[in-house]
């Protein structure tokens, strides 16, 4: 038994040693927990911010990044992934951090300009070269024989925007919810693969050659045209109307205070609104909120009427409960009873 005790002590010690923080050479480190498509954006912003912070304060800062599907990332933060700042796809996931773990105050969204969204985006279509199926607008997505790729709105923030954009279009077009629901049932009836995140969906569409049209973030669409364009033969289609996507950022008070990094974390988030960072956002195909950067990148983005989540669904919470919660509209689309509607 003494050996057993010794070995278990060893085990605990090993785990203990490993759990100690290694901060490397930097004076201070931040952890930014983000969603999938922002990898390239924050790669560049982090370098700029480190240089800026060292120049103004003499303190070196290292920013660690974590990326994944938005739902998974929010879940990890709630479960103890100690993010100093979160930069996620939808406000609902940050609300959950307040509701489930009290990691930040309820009014977090009012603490930074533009509802805490330093850049915006929208939902557009990517189609195959030459647009063989003639897809121009939302109504073309429910045509028979059109195969639509979009991720699972239960796990992906981008997919929720896709869903709500279609919902908003249908509400405007048909004027009532029953018809809109029917429209969505037919649209999702055309979806052959539900990836868990935006990146997976892009890969399925561009690399695996599945589907005729991909619903995705504008920034993802422009990026994949740049990265995969020649190889994958893709084209951008901008629908008549779409949704205003506002990916929010927030300081996670509990963890920032625990690490003593509130000041630099706050500065990091404010840095996102500077012309310097706004230009980087524009470069990575996010629509800048700052006037000068917005003007600089104006011709990169198509004119499109964008409605907000608030206009078509009230708050994110209401949108979640009505559409995405278990038993909501999205689940009902997939119930066997809905097959008839989809078949039409």
């Amino acid at each position: 038994m003494r050996i057993a005790a010794a070995l278990s002590t060893l085990l605990v010690l090993c785990l203990g040693v490993l759990s100690c923080r290694k901060d490397g050479a930097a004076d201070v480190t931040l952890l930014n927990v983000s969603y999938d498509p922002t990898r390239e954006l924050y790669g560049e912003i982090n370098a700029e911010f480190s240089a800026h912070w060292e120049k103004t304060t003499g303190q070196s800062v290292r920013i660690r990044q974590s990326h994944g599907g938005a739902g998974k990332q929010a879940r990890a933060v709630i479960d103890g992934l100690e993010a100093d700042v979160v930069t996620l796809a939808i406000a609902f996931d940050i609300d959950a951090m307040h509701e489930r773990a009290g990691l930040l105050p309820k009014d977090w969204q009012t603490r930074l300009p533009h509802d805490s969204a330093p850049y915006t985006s929208t939902i557009v279509f990517l189609v195959r070269k030459g647009n063989p199926k003639g897809i121009r607008d939302w109504k073309d997505l429910v045509r028979e024989g059109v195969s639509v790729i979009t991720p699972n709105p239960k796990t992906s923030g981008g997919a929720r925007y896709n869903y709500l954009a279609a919902w908003g279009y249908a509400l405007r077009e048909f004027g009532e919810e029953g018809a809109a629901q029917n429209f969505l049932a037919r649209l999702y009836g055309n979806v052959p693969v539900l990836d868990s995140g935006a990146r997976g969906a892009t890969t399925t569409f561009a690399e695996r050659g599945i589907g005729d049209v991909l619903l995705t973030w504008e920034n993802e669409a422009l990026l994949s045209l740049k990265e995969l364009g020649d190889k994958a033969d893709l084209e951008l289609v901008v629908p008549s109307v779409s949704i205003l996507a506002e990916p929010p950022v927030a300081l996670v008070d509990t963890y920032a205070d625990k690490h003593g990094t509130r000041k630099v974390a706050q500065a990091y988030l404010e840095f996102l609104y500077t012309p310097q960072a706004q230009r980087i956002a524009g470069k990575h195909f996010y629509r800048p909120s700052g006037a000068s950067a917005a003007a600089e990148f104006a011709d990169q983005f198509a004119e499109v009427t964008r409605f907000t989540v608030r206009e078509i669904a009230g708050s994110w919470r209401e949108a979640h409960e009505k559409h995405f919660a278990d038993g909501g509209v999205f689940d009902r689309i997939y119930q066997p009873g809905a097959k008839a509607a989809r078949a039409r």
């Binding site: 085990l11 785990l15 759990s19 660690r64 479960d79 992934l81």
Partner: protein, 308 residues
């Protein structure tokens, strides 16, 4: 699950068999053809895909992808996790195999089933249970937070999940060999006055050496390749808590397909090395059996089912 034991010397015995119980050559070749087709269709295709995609843009692109900082840190983390999980399971494997092969006691078969349990638990569930234990909302969440100790979303969580997944592997291999060899020599040593430790170090371990090595090789391969469980507890902090298999997924999501397959090829290479080592261990064990008096020598390596 107990273990089926093969006498590796068995191949030779069959070489001189009479033809009275043989199939016609046509049928024989047909069967061989079908078997090869099945094996190739399922086993060869993924390997070929991995290596051809990895070298799709030439050797330079391949080497660039591997020399990336995040790839290197993923290699380090993977080695670290396996480096802790494998020795822990090795000690446990030898101890539990000793217990299960040398003694009879009530509840033994229940114990065997429990030891085997992690094998059939979905990796996702393996990750989930550690979140339930050590997550901020979990059993020890507030305690760990107060002590500022991080388990999940840090290296210890990855080590724990890996250890859980590879838990029964060494036990299974060593137990099979110990059971096959019996305890006569140990009892003889005992009569001659050896202590328990002496018996273990001088008699038992040399006897089951190859079984132990075999178990370690399998355990290591599984530890380095684990994806599902580690993915749930990792937190995906770049350059810090991404293991090699997770890094494959990251690269895959960055349109860095050459990179993803380059890292995959590293893991595939590891798999091939594992298979070669395994073959070598079997061959060594076989030769040792042959070196000893023919026929009388006990089998030294059990070829058991690799548990997953």
């Amino acid at each position: 699950m107990s273990h089926s034991v093969s006498r590796l010397g068995g191949h030779g015995r069959r070489a001189g068999r009479q033809d009275t119980a043989e199939e016609a050559p046509l049928i024989r070749w047909l069967l061989i053809g079908v078997a090869l087709l099945f094996v190739c269709a399922f086993l060869l295709v993924p390997l070929v895909i991995v290596f051809s995609s990895a070298f799709a843009d030439g050797l330079d692109a391949y080497l660039d992808a591997l020399a990336d900082d995040e790839t290197l840190s993923a290699v380090r983390l993977t080695l670290l996790a396996a480096g802790i999980a494998v020795p822990l399971n090795l000690v446990f494997g030898v101890t539990s195999a000793w217990l299960l092969s040398k003694y009879e006691f009530p509840g033994k078969s229940a114990l065997v089933t429990l030891i085997d349990l992690p094998f059939s638990v979905s990796p996702v569930i393996a990750g989930l249970i550690f979140v339930l234990l050590f997550g901020a909302q979990g059993w020890f969440g507030s305690l760990l937070s107060a002590w500022d100790v991080r388990i999940i979303f840090a290296v210890p969580g990855i080590v724990l999940a890996t250890t859980f997944i590879t838990f029964p592997l060494v036990t299974r291999e060593v137990l099979a060999v110990m059971q096959a060899q019996g305890s006569d020599e140990e009892e003889a040593a005992l009569t001659l006055g050896a202590t328990g430790w002496q018996i273990l170090w001088r008699v038992t371990l040399p006897k089951v050496k190859w079984g132990v090595i075999y178990g370690v090789i399998l355990c290591n391969a599984r530890a380095m390749g684990e994806f599902g469980a580690v993915s749930v507890v990792s937190g995906h902090i770049r350059g810090e808590t991404n293991t090699l298999p997770l890094h494959v997924e990251v690269l895959y999501g960055e349109y860095a397909f050459v990179g993803a397959f380059a890292v995959s090829s590293l893991l595939a290479l590891l798999a091939i090395v594992t298979l070669v080592l395994k073959q070598w261990v079997e061959w060594r064990a076989e030769r040792r059996t042959a070196d000893l008096a023919t026929g009388a020598a006990p089998p030294t390596v059990a070829r058991t089912v690799p548990a997953g």
